[in-house]
Structures are given as structure tokens and as C-alpha cells.
């Protein structure tokens, strides 16, 4: 049972969710609304940057899980 619990915390999905929550928390806690770049609030640029980070996290997740399945000799 202990092994199963441990494995759940090592699940790629849980780890990726943790990273996503951590990165978004930085934006919400920092919230640099009054700093501007090109006339647009830094808050907006941070959120814009995160669009690309979310895509990257998803790509890493897909590759990671496919690698795990390959290592385990499973198709799907």
C-alpha cells in the first residue's frame, strides 16, 4: 500500500500540476500591475509568457508518460 501512495505522488500528472500551480502562484502573489513594458502591464506579459510554459509542460508530460510506457513495455 505504501508503495502505491508513493507512486501516486511521483505520477507525472501530479508533478506537472504542482509545477503549474507553483508558477501561477508566483504571478498571483507578485502581481506587478503597476510596472509597464511597451505600455502594457507586466502582469499581462507574465500571463502571456505562461501560455508557452503551459505548452512546454504538456509536451514534457506527453514525452515522459510515453517513455514510462515504453520502459514498462506497455502500448497504451
Amino acid at each position: 500500500m505504501k508503495e502505491i501512495t508513493k507512486s501516486k505522488w511521483k505520477d507525472p500528472g501530479i508533478i506537472m500540476t504542482g509545477i503549474l500551480v507553483f508558477i501561477s502562484a508566483i504571478v498571483w502573489i507578485w502581481w506587478p500591475a503597476d510596472t509597464y513594458w511597451m505600455g502594457i502591464s507586466l502582469v499581462a506579459w507574465l500571463m502571456f509568457l505562461c501560455f508557452f510554459i503551459w505548452l512546454l509542460l504538456t509536451l514534457i508530460h506527453v514525452i515522459w508518460v510515453e517513455k514510462i510506457e515504453k520502459d514498462n513495455g506497455k502500448g497504451a
Binding site: L20, S24, M47, F48, C50, F51, F52
Partner: protein, 476 residues
């Protein structure tokens, strides 16, 4: 009437109906086919299908409209959550729900928690998805009346009946394949519009300066932080809790295809929000947003201002496509909720597949009529109505679903408390004078606490059920 745009729209609707009828025979061959396209969709089609199901009229008209009216940070807060919709669902629930072998969200609640949870979930799906038809029909009515030069009410009825017919006839097969076309038109159309805007303003820096010259607050945070955070939460969770989006995931051929589809959908969403930034900036530079009756119409103004009639027609068809696609997925969820979960689950357990499919058809027609009835005199702005539905689903389903998958100790009493408590908290927050679309900020934690506390205070699920939860994660 705008002749070119009207001709393209009409041709488009006919094409979609033909596809719907073409797949109708295939869809009615079995119940599994009708609901999930026989689980035989590849990742390319799946990407567009997942994307188009989630990218509602609000994603396009609402996001751009709100970006122009409330400033670009509001548009990006929308995207901050929305681009992560497929990813968040992929990380947290996609593979597990697939392994559980269920077809609908209420069915998951039945297998994991028991029939009372399924009944509550089915009721929630039917009510929220029917209400979700209202903003979709409102948006399609606005486009239809603008292009065809007819009354808004008549446009709502005509378009509503038109796209309901092909969805009802074809089930998920028709919806999935027309989604490929709809998703492609939307992404390519927005790309072309963004490129035209880019060259007309001679680059991004000039475009932003032109927008700021017309509206000095375009780049500023204009709302309380809670509104941005509430918007983010409602959209981030949308793929997890939306019955229509989750059902798309089941339509993939296998788990690998489902994951790759989510990656593709994430890329498509990112593209749409990047193009949306260009479109919102162009909309702000027009300096007309305050003169419009409905600020959601700014998107259509940009299309008409920047594109020749033929391209404008194609893009308006794409916009209508996004609305149709979302509305059809919602109709399917309502139909599944009543025919599959409530009728077959409780009223007539021995119902034949044919009877269930026919009842699903009838329910779909009924839901669209209810949607049309309310859309003729819509109760609120599109963005607000979408925000309410998303927020309600998140508050009610969010934690009971995720904890049901990840926490073996979660039980029926906890799930019911979480769903009902989250729903009540959401309704109370709507009634109170709080920041707009910020309701889930309170309702979501209330639901989470109720699931955990009530589960711990009551009897643990059986050993078999706990083993079943392990199986969702690939352990056995």
C-alpha cells in the same frame, strides 16, 4: 444583407448538415458509437475536436470583447487559464477517467461513489449545459442578424434549429468530424486576420501604440485582482469539469492518442490567444468600443474593417463554427444526462439501445428549444453567462471528481456534500455583491473541505472500491 458573407455562411451550414446526415447512419448503429464516435478518433482529429469543443463563442467574441473593454490583462488572464484547459485535464484526470471505462461524467460518479451521486451529477449537467446553450445561441444570433440583415430573434431560431438538427442526427461522429473543419477554419481564419493586422500597423510595437493612443488604459489592470483570479480558476478547471470536453477525451482511439490530442489542443488554444491579442489591439485602435450596443461585437467590427468580404465571410463562418461546435457538445451532454444516466440508469434499466438513442434525440431537440426561448431575450452579457456556467461546474464537480480519482478515502457522503455544498456556496456568492466571476474563489475551497471532512467523518469505501481507485492509476 451582406451578400458575400451570407452566401458563405449558408454554404457552410449546408455542408455541416450534409456531414451530419452522412454520419447519422453510422452513429445510430450502436449506443457506444452515438456517444463517443466508437472511440476511434486519431490524435490530429482529436486535437481539433477537443479544442473546438472547449473554444466556445466566448473564447473568441467574449475574450476579444473583454480585452478591448477591460484591457489586455483581462484577455491574458482569460488565456492564462484557458490555454491550460487541455493540459490541466490531461495531468489530473484524463488517463484515469479513461481507465475507469465510463462514458459520461455522471457515470463516473455512479461507479466511484454510487447512484445518488450519479443522479445529482446528471441533474447538474442537464441544468448547466441547457443554460450554457443560451450564450451560444445569443452569439450566433448576433452574427446571424448582422450578416443576414434579419431580426435577432429570427436569427436565433433559424441558426439554433439548423445546428441542432445535424448534432441530433449524427451524435458524436458528426460533431467530431465537423469539429475538424470548424477548428481549422477558426485557427486559420484568426491567423490570416492577425497577419493582415500585423502588416497594416507595420509591426507589433506600432499596433500596441495605436491601441494605446485610442485607449490609454488598454494595457492596464482595470479590475480587482479577484476578478482576474476567478476567471483564471473557472477556465483552468473547465476541461476537468465540463461534461462536453471530457467526453471528447473518451472518443480517442487509445490513451496515447488522448494525450497527444490534449497537446495539440493546447497548441491550438495558445495560437488563438496570440492571434486574439492582435485582434483585441486592432479593436482598441478603432476607438469605437464605447459606441457599440454590445461590446462583444468588436470582434465582428475588426473582421469587417480589416478583411475583404470573402475572407470576412469565411471567418464569420469560423466564428459561428466555434459556437455551433460548443453548443452541439453541450446538447450531447444534456442528451446523455437524461437518456443514458437518468432514464437508463433509473427509470428503465432494460431499455434497448435504440430507445435510449431515440430518447437522446428528443431530449436534444427539447434542450435546444429551451435554449432558443431564453436566448431570444438573454438575461446577461455572453461573458457573464459563460463565467457563471464555468464557475458553477467548477464549484460543484471540481473537487468531488479530482479527489474521487486521487483519494481512495473519498466516499459517497463526501462527494454529495462537496457537490451540494459547492453549488450552494456558488449561488450564495452570486447573490452577494462580490467581484464579477469571482464566485469559485470561495465555492471551490468550500467544496474541497466538505469532501475531505465529510468523507473522514463517515465510513471508508469498501476494499474493492479502494482497489478500483488504484486501478485508475494503472496499479493493480
Amino acid at each position: 444583407m451582406l451578400i458575400m458573407e451570407a452566401v458563405i455562411l449558408t454554404l457552410y451550414l449546408i455542408l455541416m448538415t450534409v456531414i451530419g446526415i452522412f454520419f447519422a447512419k453510422r452513429a445510430h448503429s450502436s449506443e457506444d458509437d452515438y456517444w463517443t464516435a466508437g472511440r476511434n478518433i486519431n490524435s490530429f482529429v482529436g486535437s481539433f475536436a477537443l479544442f473546438a469543443a472547449v473554444a466556445s463563442s466566448s473564447s473568441l467574441m467574449g475574450a476579444v470583447g473583454s480585452g478591448v473593454a477591460l484591457g489586455v490583462p483581462f484577455l491574458f488572464a482569460y488565456g492564462f487559464g484557458a490555454v491550460a484547459i487541455p493540459s490541466f485535464a490531461l495531468f489530473l484526470i484524463s488517463a484515469q477517467i479513461r481507465r475507469s471505462g465510463v462514458k459520461t461524467v455522471p457515470e463516473f460518479f455512479k461507479f466511484r461513489f454510487g447512484k445518488p451521486a450519479q443522479l445529482v451529477a446528471a441533474g447538474v449537467v442537464v441544468v448547466t449545459m441547457t443554460f450554457y446553450m443560451v450564450p451560444q445561441l445569443t452569439a450566433s444570433g448576433l452574427i446571424g442578424s448582422y450578416v443576414l440583415g434579419i431580426d435577432y430573434e429570427i436569427a436565433v431560431i433559424l441558426l439554433g434549429v439548423g445546428f441542432t438538427l445535424y448534432a441530433a442526427l449524427g451524435g458524436m461522429w458528426a460533431i467530431t468530424y465537423t469539429d475538424l473543419i470548424q477548428g481549422a477554419i477558426m485557427v486559420v481564419g484568426l491567423f490570416v486576420l492577425a497577419v493582415v493586422i500585423f502588416f497594416e500597423h507595420q509591426g507589433v510595437a506600432n499596433l500596441v501604440q495605436d491601441a494605446l493612443a485610442a485607449d490609454p488604459d488598454f494595457g492596464s489592470v482595470t479590475q480587482p485582482l479577484m476578478s482576474y483570479f476567478g476567471l483564471f480558476l473557472a477556465f483552468l478547471w473547465f476541461g476537468v469539469v465540463s461534461p462536453s470536453a471530457v467526453m471528447r477525451n473518451f472518443a480517442s482511439r487509445d490513451a496515447k492518442t488522448a494525450r497527444r490530442s490534449a497537446l495539440g489542443a493546447c497548441f491550438l488554444y495558445l495560437s488563438v490567444f496570440v492571434f486574439g491579442f492582435f485582434i483585441a489591439s486592432a479593436g482598441a485602435s478603432l476607438g469605437i468600443v464605447d459606441s457599440l450596443d454590445n461590446q462583444d461585437m468588436i470582434f465582428i467590427s475588426v473582421i469587417e474593417n480589416y478583411l475583404p468580404a470573402i475572407l470576412a465571410g469565411i471567418l464569420l463562418a469560423g466564428l459561428l463554427a466555434a459556437i455551433m461546435s460548443s453548443a452541439d457538445a453541450m446538447l450531447l451532454a444534456v442528451s446523455a444526462g437524461v437518456a443514458h444516466d437518468i432514464y437508463k440508469g433509473y427509470i428503465n434499466k432494460n431499455a434497448s439501445e435504440k430507445t435510449v438513442t431515440r430518447l437522446g434525440f428528443a431530449v436534444m431537440m427539447l434542450a435546444s428549444f429551451v435554449g432558443i426561448y431564453f436566448a431570444i431575450d438573454p438575461p446577461q452579457l455572453i461573458a457573464v453567462m459563460v463565467g457563471w456556467v464555468g464557475g458553477a461546474l467548477v464549484s460543484i464537480f471540481g473537487f468531488p471528481l479530482v479527489l474521487g480519482i486521487w483519494w481512495k478515502r473519498a466516499n459517497l457522503a463526501g462527494a454529495l456534500a462537496g457537490m451540494i455544498g459547492g453549488g450552494i456556496a456558488f449561488l450564495i456568492m452570486i447573490a452577494l455583491p462580490f467581484a464579477l466571476v469571482a464566485e469559485p474563489i470561495v465555492a471551490l475551497p468550500v467544496s474541497a473541505i466538505l469532501v475531505i471532512v465529510v468523507s473522514l467523518l463517515t465510513k471508508a469505501p469498501s476494499k474493492e472500491m479502494q482497489a478500483e481507485v488504484d486501478r485508475y492509476h494503472g496499479y493493480s
